[in-house]
């Protein structure tokens, strides 16, 4: 099948699923639990996105995500470079990092709320604790995968340690680091949203709880889809930045 035909079939498939859903929701389902796609669309505007408090909540959540992600990137790369710089450092601390990365962090959520309170700080901190580990791990892995010949070559030509890092190490780490960044973006969103759902105050957690408890599935799904859309946009942004940083390879 050609690429165009595949795309058309996929589109038709998704459309078919939506139609089935519409049919099922309108004919058989209880309206307190499911809503048809058209009802969700009708709810999306003006009820959900038209409501200034919902927009404010989405904005708050979005800012929390971005701050948590940026913190993960900065601290993750810094810690990763510091650990990966020396052989001894990597072999001592890398297993510790992996061990911490393996802990199901959801269990720490109540602790984060206890320490950081109910405001945005807890959500940012929890998102950060999710996002920082993939950045550290992939930064270390990236530094390890740089061909040592290139470094020796640069050193032989008189590059200082700083120049070796700047002109040899960093450009070659791009692929590995961005794999980490994409993972970090997904995990940061996960962390922030988990904390939002747990605290239900200030951000979108308030409204997911409100809609779920008042049995308003159309509004709930509309809000969730808005966030899903934002998540896709953020992921695409990271991908675009990556393409920009990888240009030198062509």
């Amino acid at each position: 099948m050609s690429a165009g035909a595949v795309r058309t079939t996929r589109f038709a498939l998704i459309l078919g699923v939506l139609l089935l859903w519409e049919f099922y929701a309108r004919m058989f389902a209880t309206s307190t639990l499911t809503a048809a796609p058209t009802q969700i669309l009708a709810e999306l505007w003006p009820k959900v996105l038209g409501e200034p408090r919902v927009r404010l909540a989405i904005g708050v959540t979005l800012i929390e995500m971005v701050v948590a992600f940026l913190m993960s990137v900065v601290f993750g790369m810094l810690i990763g470079v510091l650990i990966g710089l020396t052989n001894i450092g990597r072999r001592s601390f890398y297993p510790v990092v992996l061990l911490l990365y393996g802990i199901p962090q959801a269990i720490l959520l109540p602790l984060f709320v206890l320490v950081f309170g109910l405001g945005p700080a807890a959500k940012i901190a929890f998102g950060f604790s999710h996002g920082v580990f993939p950045v550290i791990v992939n930064t270390i892995a990236g530094m390890r995968n740089v061909n040592p010949l290139l470094l020796t070559g640069a050193a032989a030509m008189g590059a200082t340690r700083m120049q070796q890092l700047r002109y040899v190490m960093f450009p070659h780490m791009v692929t590995a680091v961005f794999t980490g960044l994409r993972l970090a973006m997904t995990l940061t969103l996960l962390g922030v949203l988990l904390a939002e759902l747990f605290v239900s105050q200030g951000g979108i957690g308030t409204f997911t709880l409100l809609y779920a408890e008042t049995f308003n599935p159309a509004a709930l799904i509309a809000l969730i889809l808005t966030l899903a859309f934002l998540a896709v946009v953020l992921n695409e942004l990271v991908r675009m930045v990556e393409a920009n940083f990888s240009r030198w390879k062509e």
């Binding site: 099948m1 595949v6 079939t9 996929r10 498939l13 998704i14 639990l33 001894i88 072999r91 001592s92 601390f93 297993p95 510790v96 992996l98 061990l99 393996g102 802990i103 199901p104 962090q105 959801a106 269990i107 720490l108 959520l109 109540p110 602790l111 709320v113 206890l114 320490v115 997904t186 969103l189 996960l190 949203l193 988990l194 759902l197 747990f198 997911t208 709880l209 809609y211 779920a212 049995f215 599935p217 709930l220 799904i221 969730i224 966030l227 899903a228 998540a231 896709v232 992921n235």
Partner: protein, 251 residues
């Protein structure tokens, strides 16, 4: 030389843990307000003993482990079945793979309120949520594994007269095993994390619920005790996964 380096590395690692525990011990001794968030190590130890002796650990652990097991079994069966069926034809892979990976890129946590709405506050919502979350990496890896089997091996086995079953058993399965296993491992840890996360958010029983409850009641020592149990469990599971992996690599 190598022995000396290993010794240095071990000492750094042990030193790190000793320093952390020492800071914890001395910090809680010196500062009273700190103890509100960080109880003394011996208080946490006492709580852990209480939780074991009163049997509360086992009853909570039972709920959580059963939920995780149910969710994982569902995810493995559905993930491998879907992955295998999709990988049967190139067109199906082109059709479904982007849809599945696109859905997996969206943080599914957002849909958790829907799960509670559909399945109630009991264990069913956590099982469904964990199963759905773990389904994606398993299905995606199974698709990748079975659709990337080298054509030449298949052609060769067919030329030598292998039946459908023999092709599956001796070509597809060994070639697809490593990537499928990676998916199963990722799915397993995602399953644990999402069931625990779901329990923390909305549940009536289980380890996650007990942790959240301890925090709500400001029983910090008990909160840390629960966290300590989960950390121990996850360290053991990770070491187990590592051991299984190194063994399968050696073979």
């Amino acid at each position: 030389m190598i022995a000396r380096e290993n010794f240095v590395i071990r000492s750094i690692q042990i030193g790190l843990f000793v320093a952390l525990f020492g800071a914890w011990y001395l910090g809680t001794r010196a500062d009273d307000t700190l103890r509100l968030f960080l109880p003394a190590p011996e208080a946490v130890g006492r709580e852990m003993r209480v939780l074991i002796e009163t049997g509360r650990l086992w009853s909570a652990l039972y709920v959580t482990v059963v939920s995780i097991a149910q969710a994982y079994v569902i995810a493995v069966m559905a993930g491998i079945a879907v992955g295998f069926l999709v990988a049967r034809s190139r067109t199906l892979v082109q059709l479904f793979e982007p849809v599945l990976s696109g859905m997996f890129a969206v943080p599914l946590t957002m849909f958790f309120p829907l799960f509670v709405l559909f399945f109630g506050i009991g264990t069913e919502s956590k099982v469904a949520y964990g199963a759905v979350y773990a389904f994606f990496p398993i299905a995606l890896n199974t698709i990748a594994a079975f659709s990337n089997v080298d054509e030449n091996y298949l052609r060769a086995s067919r030329a030598m007269g292998a039946s459908q079953w023999q092709q599956f058993r001796y070509v597809y399965l060994p070639a697809a095993m490593p990537v499928t296993l990676t998916g199963l491992r990722i799915g397993f840890f995602i399953c644990i994390a999402s069931v625990l996360g779901g329990e923390t958010l909305a549940a009536t029983a289980g380890v996650g619920r007990s942790t959240a409850l301890a925090a709500e009641l400001m029983e910090t020592a008990r909160l840390y005790a629960w966290i300590a149990f989960v950390v121990c469990m996850s360290v053991m599971l990770n070491l187990l996964a590592l051991a299984v992996e190194t063994r399968s690599e050696r073979e």
